[in-house]
Symmetry: C2
């Protein structure tokens, strides 16, 4: 898979699957003009979205679309799944398959995934498996889904024994994101998306993502800013480039786990209820950078430059109320640990990640202690929230 | 996809997936020698089979295998699913995914599907989707699975609204069939397999399948006969050739539906409880040949030659106790009917099928009447049996 960022849209070229475009827009002009969307051969569309998104997303989208879908998109072909991670459980598949079959879905049908990562992962898996594969379109409506899960072809559902343990690699016909969807995005969702964008900036060897985020940090929460549109396009392009080199996760794709060793531990320690994934990743990025300086000699001023960006983006960096030893003990039992030694993605220089780095106990403890001193120790509990 | 039948085994070359061999054996020599099975990179094996097959199939297989599997195949890595079509329901997936995850399945694991079509379809789907794809091996134990479902890469599960409506195209590392598995095959299962083999003989443009089945008809129910082994290999090779030209069912693969228009109607009229699929197909093949003579002018003597073979193979040809109009009315509502006109695969000459043929009402009624006169009208009800 390779990809190229053009002025107007991104083109992703997966190995062994047809190339597809990623559109990132500030308005509905392309949608309303009928644009250059490739919908050839589609017999009918089904929209899959989520309860709670009707007013903010589904209605505006259908209105913008108007009659531009062949045959229209009558209401009975809109299927809403529930909110939260629980809606991605494998037990939720059968009702959706049955409903689509009742509605006479056929092999030339196209599913539209309109929503965040949960909707995209779930709908992608339905598309990959219904009638042994129908086409689908990704329309992410969160910043996180736009820069992360909608690119790369991973689809998945959860089983009791694990998240995303069942899935398929399956590419959409195209990805369409509109920054207008962000007008109603909750604060915590902004953090999720910006944390991933910051992560990409840490990993980008060319340094352009970092410089651009720095230049435009104050505009990146403005859904109408052209700078946000460009930043999303560039961040998605970076993700596409990484997965292009390693479509099925043999190696390089692992760098995308920067910040995730600590993040997984924090999520697991709080039973996935305290933090959204992005809130945990933001904290884990700080740990990873502190470790990068200690273990791989990342230059102090480069680390500080990242910290400054995180601060401007409003990302949390505290230690979530956990003592260093608690987090470490939990990490040791993580599946990705080998012989109880946790492995990290770290930077040896700005934009130069290395993965599979074994970190000594004392280094982790020192780094996490430093993180608490510097960014606060935060709180391990909070009012129970609906997972995002 | 293309394929070539060699003396020793069949090599299937699917487009876009690695080529894989189909072994058909009369004894366990290849298995016991460690043979030329490609198991490179496999970390561990899990065997998926079916209750009721323990004594007849699972134990002999594991004994023949001995310690030839790296790390062995301890009993806890044998997972048995239930009997019958109901075991392929989507609701049966989650327990198997969870069990495999508890047993520490990883991406380099390999699932062994040991059983009939239900086990193969189900296990293949689990392999296609667990961890977004682990490898698997098809070891069919019925004649039908050996000549039909184990070749072609179709995997599937059932939902309430339809059989095989959810699935994936996913190729095994190899297919291994041993005619010894047939020593305990029930009579009705013989009919299923022989009906598919007869169907392939009707479709084969070279005429070799037909001539060989005729020459060896009396040996084809003998699990130890080399002629059976060769016939299975040739029949599987024919299936592989057809799907090779049309891996995802755009066109030619449709010829494999010879006999299926009537068969589906009979199965549906009896709520899938009276007939095994093969028993319905055997009857449908007769209808299709009678129609071929009427509609496409198939020569009388060629039709009679097929009928003679069916008789020698012990295939049922009666009309299952249904009046012609009942079957026709039911067909009209079949999804594959267009404007209420049923479509058939018919032969214009021996081994020269055409698909999508619209058949007039009067032609079907006459053909089905003729079938009843000639092969008996049979019985529409029978003691309720467990579907095979």
């Amino acid at each position: 898979m390779s990809s190229q960022s053009e002025k107007d849209f991104l083109r992703v070229e997966p190995t062994g699957s047809p190339a597809y475009p990623v559109y990132v827009e500030n308005d509905f002009a392309r949608l309303q003009s009928g644009g250059d969307f490739d919908l050839e051969g589609v017999s009918q569309f089904f929209l899959i979205s989520q309860t709670g998104l009707e007013e903010s997303v589904v209605v505006p989208f259908l209105e913008a679309l108007g009659e531009r879908i062949p045959g229209g998109l009558p209401k009975e072909r809109v299927v809403l799944i529930g909110q939260g991670e629980a809606s991605k459980h494998i037990s939720r598949l059968a009702p959706v398959y049955n409903r689509l079959i009742e509605l006479d879905v056929d092999r030339k049908s196209c599913l539209i995934a309109l929503g965040g990562g949960v909707v995209g992962d779930f709908t992608g898996f339905v598309a990959a498996t219904l009638l042994r594969g129908v086409s689908f379109v990704q329309i992410p409506t969160t910043l996180l889904a736009a820069v992360d899960s909608s690119v790369g072809g991973k689809t998945a559902v959860n089983v009791d024994r694990g998240k995303n343990m069942v899935g398929a690699f399956y590419q959409p016909r195209f990805v369409y994101f509109n920054t207008r969807f962000l007008r109603t995005l909750p604060e915590r969702e902004w953090i999720c998306g910006l944390a991933e964008m910051a992560k990409h900036a840490c990993l980008d060897g060319e340094g352009r993502l970092l410089a651009d985020l720095e230049n435009n940090a104050d505009l990146l929460r403005n859904p109408d800013a052209p700078e946000l549109r460009q930043a999303v396009l560039d961040s998605a392009a970076f993700k596409a480039r990484v997965v292009s080199e390693d479509e099925r996760e043999g190696g390089l794709r692992a760098i995308l786990n920067l910040g995730h060793t600590t993040a997984h531990s924090l999520e697991s320690l709080t039973d996935y209820k305290r933090f959204s994934h992005g809130e945990a990743v933001a904290r884990g990025l700080v740990t990873a950078l502190l470790l990068s300086r200690r273990v791989l000699g990342l230059a102090e001023e480069k680390m500080e430059r990242y910290f400054k960006l995180f601060e401007r983006l409003g990302l949390p960096g505290d230690t979530a109320g956990f003592a260093p030893a608690e987090v470490l003990d939990h990490m040791r039992f993580d599946k990705k640990s080998v012989r109880g030694i946790p492995r990290f993605v770290l930077l040896e220089d700005a934009g130069r990640p290395r993965y599979g780095i074994e970190v000594r106990e004392e280094d982790f403890l020192a780094a996490y202690t430093e993180q608490a001193e510097r960014f606060g120790s935060g709180a391990r509990s909070a009012p129970k929230i609906q997972p995002l």
